[in-house]
Structures are given as structure tokens and as C-alpha cells.
Amino acid sequence: MKRFSLKYTLLTYRLDQLWFPLAFLAFFIILTLLLRNEVQNYDIARAYVGFAVPLVGGFMAAYAILDDPALELRFATPIRAAQILLERTTLIFLIQAVCANAFLLFSLIIGVDFSPLGNWVNVQLCWLLPTITLIALGTFGALIGAQTMVGSFLVGLVWFVELIVRDGMAVNNWKYAYIFMSILSPEHPDLVSNQIALFALTIAFLFVAWALLRKQERYI
């Protein structure tokens, strides 16, 4: 019975979780090809992997668990909360990972130089950390508010606020929660601390989300 879960996920999969990230990817590729500007190519690549991919991942995650018409039936099966959480968020993460790396590959092919961001691992961390943080935040928000809308709002707000006040975020204690530090301030002396803090925050959000998901009566 428990093994049936993945099949269920695929059968009930919302296609917009797939076509929308791909459409976004295609849009940024077309935009890059249209502008044909070396300086802007780098900026567009940063904008896509550093900002667009985390935003899409976060919003998708807010709807991942609770936006299921058969939620009550699903809760009636002996599937563990951790398994539901993992299978729903992992799928979203994998799609974002494929999109981010496809765009990085495309950028490398057209000659974009990512050396200002550091080595290959650092470039990967530029999209990976904000994406997992917003995915965890979206899931946590939806579950704590028992509404997908709360998760969406938290993702949208954090993304927007951190983008607007990015200079302020990098200079005080908020720097540890600054999700765009890897992409916007790769030279920052506290970058490693920031990355560790974001990872810890992700784990904390997912842990609380797991604890909340165990109280199934909250969502029925």
C-alpha cells in the first residue's frame, strides 16, 4: 500500500508544475537570444537561476500538499507524514534543478562567464540554497496556516522584501537569512555562514512542516 504513493503522485500530478517552469525557462532563453548582449546575458542568467527558479519552487511548494482534492482520502491511508512531505517537495525541487542546470548549460554554451560567482560548486549553491529555502518556507507556511494562500504569501513576501532591501540585508544580522547572498554578494565575508544558516533554516522549516503534517485533523 505504501509503495503505491509514488504512482499516486504521478497520476494526480498537476501539469502546471511541469509546463510553467519549462515555459519560464523557454522565456528566459528566448530573452537572452533576443537581447544578444554579453553583459546582460550574465545578468539574465543570474536573474533566472538566482531569483526566478527559487520563486517558482517556493510557490509550487506552497500548493504541493494541501492542494489535493483527495487529501482526506490520502490521510486515511497509512502513509507517513515524512513520506508525503518528501515525495511532494522532492518532485518540485527536481524540476527546478533540471531547469536551473539547463539554463546554466545554455549560458555556458553562449559564452557567459560565471567566474564572478566562484567555482562550479558555488554556482550551484547560488540557485540551490534559495530554492530549497523557499520550498521549505512555502511548505511550512501552507501547513502552519492550514491554507495554501499563507504559504504563497510568505514565499512572495520574503522573495520580494529581500530583493528590494538587498543592500540592507547584507550588512546586519539579517545577513544570515539573506537568501540571495550567494548570487548577489559572492564576495561577502560571511557567505559560508549565510549558506550554513540557510541550510539550517531549511531543515528547521521542513521539520516543523513534518510535525504539522502529522496533525492531519488540522487540514480536514
Binding site: V56, M60, Y63, M149, V150, F153, L157
Partner: protein, 258 residues
């Protein structure tokens, strides 16, 4: 008219009671209250009669950074839920016309989104006045800037938030909307092609510069005049009317298909 009032009242009551809205507004209100009442030394401004309108406009412009994002995201499911829950089929069997339904829904959501903001602005302004940090005229100035800058921004985003999720998945709209608000209002046009700087800008910069004098102490000449600000409000109003009209045709088409 009684039908419009009925839809309006019902939508207002539903929207204003949403816990999600109060959580969202609560977070933003706390953030803004702290920054307005206890600004950092370099950001603190002295409200005098000479600078009153500029500083009131600056506050309204600052509120427009984040509050319409929350309102747009939260309003996105208000009309779609009627379709998803099958309520619209019941409504279409009543003598309620599509236009009355749309207008009642729109103004209900708009009023429910704006009412907490207006009350909170009055409370914060009253605190500033009571502590002697601003003259009593600030109450009037903040109310005027609320109607000139915040109401148009909310009216614009809520119109799209009601209509767009009917033709695309809710989460897709919310992603596009959040990205749009940053791209269309805050990216300088010199850096990247954007709607910012055009008459379609909804962030309130046109009204802020055109009606209230722009940022206090800034030496650069103002980019927008009062005429630009009025044109901006007219264009936003036309966009809202266009969205409502298209939505009306869309619902009529849906009714014919059913």
C-alpha cells in the same frame, strides 16, 4: 442596486474574516509600524508644515512597496473559488447579472483589502501626532495620499488578481504577479526593459512626484508632473475598466457554454 450591495457585503464579510489576510497584514503592519515610529537616525524625518506633503507621500510610496503584493496574492483566489466550488453555477441560476456579480465581487475585495490599511495608517499617524513628532495636519495628508497613491495601486492589482486566475492556474498567476510587481515598478528602465516609468506604472511614483513633490531633500529635478500623474491614474482606471469588461464577456461566454 440591492443585488450589488448584497454581493459587495457578502464578499467584504468573507474577505475581511480570512485568517490568511490578517496574518499577512499583521506581519507587514508590524514591520512598517516599527520603521515609521522608530526609524534609524539617518532615516528619521522631521514633519514640518513645509515638508508634510512630501513626507506623507514618501510614507505612502513606501507602503506601496509591499502591501499591494500581499493584497494581489490574497485576492487571487476570490473569484476562482466560486468556480472551483461550483457556487457560480448556483449564482447563474439567480437573477444576478454577471456585471453586478463582477462589480460586487471587485469592490467587496477591494474594500476588504483597503479597510485594514486605512485604519492602520490612521492609528500610526495618530501615534506620531500624539507623541509630538508630527503636526495634526498629517492625518489629513496621509488620508489624501492614501486615496491618491495606495487606492489606485490596490484597485489595479486586485482587478487583475480576480480575472487572471480564471484563465490560468492560481499558483502560476501568483508567481507571475510577484515577479511583475518587482519588474514593472522597481527595475530602472535604463537597466532592463520594463513597464516602470511608463503610464502603466502602478507603484505610485507618478502621483508621488506629480502631486506631492517627490522625495524630500533630493536635488534631482522631478521626472513626473501633475499632468503625468493624472494621466497615470486615468490609464490605470482604463486598464481596470478593460479587465472588468473582458471578465464580463468571459463569464457570459462561460454561461453560454454551460
Amino acid at each position: 442596486m440591492s443585488r450589488f450591495i448584497g454581493v459587495f457585503r457578502h464578499e467584504f464579510n468573507m474577505s475581511i474574516r480570512r485568517s490568511g489576510m490578517w496574518i499577512a497584514y499583521g506581519l507587514l503592519f508590524v514591520f512598517y509600524t516599527v520603521t515609521v515610529l522608530w526609524p534609524s537616525p539617518e532615516e528619521s524625518n522631521v514633519f514640518t508644515d513645509a515638508t508634510l506633503w512630501q513626507l506623507a507621500g514618501q510614507l505612502a510610496y513606501t507602503f506601496n512597496l509591499f502591501l499591494p503584493v500581499a493584497a494581489g496574492i490574497l485576492a487571487a483566489d476570490r473569484m476562482q473559488r466560486d468556480f472551483r466550488g461550483g457556487v457560480h453555477e448556483l449564482q447563474s441560476s439567480t437573477p444576478l447579472s454577471n456585471l453586478v456579480y463582477i462589480l460586487g465581487k471587485y469592490f467587496g475585495v477591494l474594500a476588504a483589502s483597503l479597510a485594514p490599511v486605512l485604519v492602520w495608517i490612521w492609528v500610526v499617524t495618530a501615534c506620531l501626532v500624539a507623541t509630538g513628532n508630527a503636526p495634526i495636519n498629517l492625518m489629513y495628508a496621509m488620508t489624501v495620499t492614501f486615496f491618491a497613491m495606495i487606492v489606485p495601486a490596490f484597485a489595479f492589482v486586485i482587478a487583475f488578481s480576480l480575472a487572471c486566475p480564471l484563465i490560468m492556474p492560481l499558483r502560476v498567476y501568483q508567481i507571475l504577479f510577484t515577479g511583475y510587481w518587482f519588474w514593472g515598478n522597481y527595475i530602472p528602465p535604463e537597466i532592463f526593459p520594463t513597464l516602470n516609468g511608463t503610464l502603466l506604472t502602478a507603484g505610485g511614483m507618478h502621483a508621488y512626484q506629480g502631486y506631492f513633490g517627490g522625495f524630500h531633500g533630493l536635488q534631482d529635478p522631478l521626472t513626473y508632473t501633475a499632468t503625468d500623474a493624472t494621466l497615470n491614474l486615468l490609464v490605470l482606471g482604463l486598464c481596470i475598466a478593460a479587465v472588468m469588461t473582458v471578465l464580463n464577456y468571459y463569464l457570459q461566454w462561460q454561461s453560454r457554454r454551460a
